[in-house]
Amino acid sequence: MKINKESNIYTIIYIVVLVVLVGSALAYTSISLKDKQQENMAVDKMRQILASIHVVPDKGAVISDFNRYITDSYVVNNRGERVDGDAFGINVAAQSKLPSPSRHLPVYEATMPDGARKYILPVYGAGLWGPIWGYVALDADGSTIFGAYFAHQGETPGLGAEIEKPAFSDQFVGKHIYGGDHLVPVSVVKKGQKPVGGGEYVDGISGGTITSKGVGAMLSNCLLPYNNFLKPIHEKSLR
């Protein structure tokens, strides 16, 4: 029997069979590689967290360095109380879009070789083309920035993408987020300008205005909910 290749029935059956075949091949690949991919993503996240405390591990040593430096991690709410949860597993992207009272806020505590304690807080926001995120490490006084790490998905190379360079993120080192009683996140402003509301600031990137503003907005959106957690730490350090 000769099959009519141009008939509608043949065409429909053909495409259904093809799609099912390709679909199952994809599903199989995805399932069999999932563990490996998630491990890679976890290692990459650890590398980024370590970058905020100026630790750059070798390729194979990320997990061991992470376990050595990051001595504690927990979740707090916006009243500063600890809540149940796995800090590492929290999706900061989703949390950053929730209203402040219902957020779960991860905190990583790092212990440096000299015994100093650092608090690492994740931040997440929007740049010009896509998401930007990072980690801000605070000294034991809960106010002085010890280090910052920023990353982006697709900001313009040479302009907005410069936020991932140390030249930008190292400007944050030594800035204070507590001037007086209030938490004022570090602003990112055009070179030569000062933030309207006061507070400490760093220079934005020329030609990367929207990304720079995004970093400022990200810091204020993601750091302010930590106020009730950081304030007691900061006040204790003043005494």
């Binding site: 290749k5 141009e6 065409t11 495409i15 093809l18 091949a25 994809l26 991919q37 890679n40 697709g154």
Partner: protein, 208 residues
């Protein structure tokens, strides 16, 4: 194709005489995007070789069963499936590079070289020559990608595969990396230079 090509021609023609990038001017977009560094360019080249070879073979195997009214869709489904598999593999085994290449692996689907080869060759030839054609064109693409990336990384960052090759004494003497090389327009200019060199060698390619 009018004249019958030998397997050797099928494989080697795309390297130079019928190169997909510099003669047929296909797939230029990814040449601009992934060639600032040599390493992503090599991975991108290998990915395209793999996708092109396998999609050519698969399409060639089923070429007699494909209903003509939906042949482009069938080609797209096959290519898209393979591209997703490659992208998943990279995420599992070369995570750093897959982050650098980001969307461009996915965009292999829209790379004109693929659809061009499937339509022009795999639909009309047996699997083995189709495989050779796929690998040949993939290598032709990868060669250009690597040449462009070589010059852009060397002149733009002073490194090759991440290793510093321009000695420090050059910088001390006042040598500066050319930041222009990192920007997309320079990729076009480098490609244009390659085309210029190639057309000077192969006079028959020059347009009147």
């Amino acid at each position: 194709m009018a004249e019958k090509l030998s397997y050797r021609d099928v494989f080697f023609n795309p390297f130079s005489k019928n190169n997909p990038v510099i003669v047929q001017i296909l797939g230029i977009c990814s040449v601009l995007a992934v060639t600032t560094k040599l390493e992503p360019a090599i991975v991108m080249g290998l990915s395209v070789i793999a996708v092109l070879a396998f999609s050519n073979v698969i399409i060639s195997l089923i070429r007699n069963t494909i209903p003509t009214s939906i042949r482009i869709i069938v080609q797209l489904v096959v290519v898209a499936g393979l591209v997703v598999i490659v992208s998943e593999l990279l995420k599992a085994y070369a995570y750093d590079v897959s982050v650098q290449l980001s969307v461009f692996i996915g965009l292999i689907i829209t790379n004109c070289i693929l659809m061009g080869r499937l339509e022009a060759f795999a639909m009309a030839n047996r699997p083995w020559p189709s495989f050779l054609d796929g690998v040949g064109n993939g290598i032709g693409y990868a060669l250009i990608l690597m040449t462009v990336a070589f010059f852009r990384e060397l002149l733009g960052s002073g490194t090759l595969l991440g290793f510093r090759v321009v000695p420090q004494s050059f910088y001390d003497a006042g040598y500066v990396n050319n930041g222009m090389m990192i920007l997309p327009p320079m990729a076009l200019i480098v490609v244009a230079c390659i085309i210029w060199v190639q057309r000077s060698i192969h006079k028959e390619l020059q347009e009147k």
